[in-house]
């Protein structure tokens, strides 16, 4: 057997994907009342542009992007603005939110949901379509897509990678999308390639999804042309294979230098879900108002892949899948490795929520001292020394952590997963990063004052 492409490091958690991998994507019920958060992306939160009692249509901009690193927010249904309030978000923050009363009509706003042919769009027009549609990284990072597609002057992108790896256990939303809608994904990829003016496009798929790989390979072959070469790449099953830098290392054998971005080495990575959303924005004029959420876990009786409107309370989705509130001990938005635990069933679905897990087994973090076994060092996908970083974080010497390159950590959680002393390594790393950022801010302010 030929060796599959992969990166150095990584771990092998059991994937638990059998729970929901055979459930076809179904539409979730649209609730009476939707809570649309204004901060669903990294960057500045959007600003509400509607008032209470205003009538809104589906796809209408209700939150306007603030500055370049920000994204528009659109109404997921037609109805009436009931209240402007605060809500918890899956990013673990509180933010302003618009409550919309659904009128059940689902009328699209003017100009939305109209088929169009994007053949003649210029790269700039594609980028502005994507920005207008409020598309963000849908794998969970929620970084505004139009920013990624606008490399600064002097930097060229030669390869676009689509991330169909979905290396997180339990999650199946990207997998189902690849099976059920391969055309839109590949057409979205072509649009991205045109937007950044490059000819090479790859789709990375892990070897545990051979059917998805086959179908992507076939579609790529069909749509490939001489000025847009497309190919699917099968990758070794390993976590975090779907990390941006890890995917680049596996497919292109290039390493992103410390403190730099993929665009510095000519690569651009997009999630397959984002690619699908880009297709919808450019071919159908549909802004991002819904996404696929894998609702799964041992405490869910009927795991499913639901097409849910942004703003649907997660409690509704869980109840739709007959979730056992007694049995569930932990609720996670995203995957079990990087996702965040939540406590609020009223919290709305946002653009980055790839999964919703109700787990019956919650580990207790009764941690011990580091025994220097080095398993975390072997597993670290960023080639750092997590054991050292955890000890530094625990003792509060945050500036030493900076010297140990803590800022290069991608917070994938592989180290914490393999640690036999059950040390919450990633939390210490996050703490060190936070304190370093604070210190940098303080220094910048001091420099400004002088």
């Amino acid at each position: 057997m030929a060796f599959l492409k992969t990166f150095k490091g990584g771990v092998h958690p059991p994937d638990h994907k059998q729970l929901s991998k055979d459930a076809a994507i179904t539409e979730a019920m649209v609730p009476e009342l939707l809570t649309v958060p204004m901060a669903q992306h990294i960057g500045k939160p959007a600003q509400p542009v509607v008032k209470v009692t205003d009538e809104v249509k589906r796809g209408q901009v209700i939150g306007e992007s603030q500055g370049f690193v920000s994204a528009n927010v659109h109404s997921p249904v037609s109805g009436k603005v009931k209240r402007i309030t605060e809500c918890n978000t899956p990013l673990g923050t509180k933010t302003q939110a618009i409550l919309i009363e659904n009128d059940g009509q689902d009328t699209w706003a003017e100009g939305c949901n109209v088929e169009s042919n994007p053949e003649n769009l210029t790269p700039k027009e594609i980028r502005s379509r994507i920005a207008d549609a409020g598309i963000v990284g849908m794998g969970g990072a929620t970084f505004p897509t139009h920013v990624k597609l606008s490399p600064p002057e002097g930097k060229t992108i030669d390869t676009v990678l689509l991330n169909g790896v979905e290396c997180e256990p339990y999650l199946t939303s990207d997998y189902r999308l690849m099976l059920e809608s391969p055309d839109t994904i590949v057409k979205g990829l072509q649009l991205v390639m045109r937007a950044v003016n490059c000819n090479n496009g790859y789709i990375g798929v892990e070897a545990n999804k051979p059917d998805a790989f086959k179908i992507m390979e076939k579609t790529c072959k069909e749509l490939s042309s001489s000025d847009a070469r497309l190919a699917a790449v099968m990758l070794e099953v390993k976590y975090p294979q779907g990390g941006e830098k890890q995917l680049i290392e596996a497919v292109l054998n290039r390493e992103v230098p410390s403190g730099r971005l993929p665009m510095d080495i000519g690569a651009l990575v997009q999630n397959v879900g984002s690619s699908h959303a880009i297709y919808q924005a450019c071919y159908l004029n549909r802004p991002l108002t819904e996404r696929i959420v894998a609702v799964t876990g041992e405490a869910v009786a009927e795991p499913a892949n639901l097409l849910a409107r942004i703003g649907t309370p997660i409690g509704d989705l869980l109840r739709h899948c007959r979730f056992d509130e007694e049995k569930a001990v932990k609720l996670i938005c995203g995957g079990p490795m990087m996702g965040l635990a939540h406590f609020d069933l009223e919290m709305p679905v946002n653009k980055g929520m790839s999964g919703l897990l109700a787990l019956t087994d919650a580990s207790d973090w009764d941690f011990r001292h580091c025994i220097r076994c080095g398993r975390c060092v072997d597993g670290c996908a960023a080639h750092l020394l997590p054991s050292e970083l955890s000890i530094i974080g625990e003792s509060g010497r945050f500036l030493d952590a900076e010297e140990a390159n803590v800022m290069d950590c991608i917070e994938c959680g592989a180290c914490t997963y393999v640690c036999p002393a059950r040390r919450p390594i990633v939390q210490w790393i996050k703490l060190a990063k936070q304190e370093i950022m604070k210190e940098r801010l303080r220094k910048a302010e001091q420099a400004k004052a002088v």
Binding site: G92, K94, A341, D364, W365, K430
Partner: protein, 285 residues
């Protein structure tokens, strides 16, 4: 024994030693840097805890800054009045009396219920890193209760009580401000001894929300605002805020506050000040 080989070794070692000794002796004279001896004297007076309250890198940095007139003599809060006085004696200058400063925690919400189970790192700063849920308690403004300030205090002045709230012992507190730096909720503040009226709440939640979750949270009822004869306290964004420019520390707001959010520390502080003054008098006589 080979005396010859031994004498060569000894002789050459002695020779090298003598030459290097001469070079060093010459070098130390030639490159002598005159240190102001006052720096050492001042450093000896400073408490030596390197707390950073003065804004200089450690006590030696501050001592140097004083001697080079970069800094005033009253910045050392752990040392207090006595320290400033001694420094002034060395520098041959006069200082005004330094008023002691104390830290204070602006939260009394020990009874606020929990929102979820937390089993991560027991450090307040780690509990609020993005994605950790922002603290276990229902109030997202108040004390998280993992005692980061107590561990950071170089004087052991902060202890955590049975409700997981910090208690500051003003006998030990020197107002150095380490607890202010480490608190992720920005609850600790340093203020001078004579300022005695404080609002011990930072919640901007609406009154009804605060009322439900906290026994000692500001519910923005505005009773203090109506009672104040000097127009010195106002409810801004659901929280009473004292304007110390106008406040005469009369304590009327303290009496009307239905939740006991506003406190007056005058009595305790006056007693402690008197005790301190009598002790100082006894020491001089």
């Amino acid at each position: 024994m080979d005396w010859k080989a031994l004498s060569i070794a000894l002789g050459s070692m002695a020779g090298i030693g003598a030459v290097l000794g001469i070079v060093l002796a010459w070098g130390s004279k030639r490159f002598f840097v005159k240190v102001d001896e006052r720096v050492e004297q001042v450093e000896a007076i400073l408490p030596g805890v390197n707390c950073g309250a003065c804004g200089f890198p450690g006590c030696s940095g501050y001592a140097e800054a004083i001697v080079t007139s970069e800094a005033t003599m009253t910045l050392c809060s752990p040392g207090g009045a006595e320290c400033a006085h001694d420094i002034a004696r060395i520098m041959g200058a006069e200082v005004e009396a330094v008023e002691p400063k104390y830290a204070l925690t602006a939260c009394q919400g020990g009874n606020v219920p929990n929102r979820f189970d937390y089993s991560g790192v027991h450090d307040c700063r780690a509990a609020v890193v993005p994605g950790m849920g922002g603290g276990i308690k229902h109030c997202t403004y108040g004390c998280i209760g993992y005692g980061t300030c107590a561990r950071a205090c170089p004087f052991g002045a902060i202890t955590m009580n049975d409700k997981q709230m910090p208690v500051i012992d003003e006998e030990k507190c020197t107002g150095c401000g380490r607890c202010v730096e480490v608190c992720p909720r920005d609850l600790n503040r340093i203020d001078r001894e004579s300022r005695t009226v404080f609002v011990l709440c930072t919640s901007h939640d609406k009154g009804a929300v605060t009322n439900k979750i906290c026994d000692h949270g500001c519910i923005a009822c505005k009773k203090c605002e109506q009672e104040c004869p000097f127009d010195a306290i106002h409810v801004i964004d659901n929280l009473a805020v004292i304007d110390y420019e106008k406040c005469k520390l009369c304590g009327k707001c303290v009496d009307v506050c239905p939740k006991g959010v506003i406190v007056n520390l005058r009595k305790e502080r006056r007693a402690r000040k008197q005790a301190r003054e009598t002790a100082a008098k006894e020491a001089t006589t």
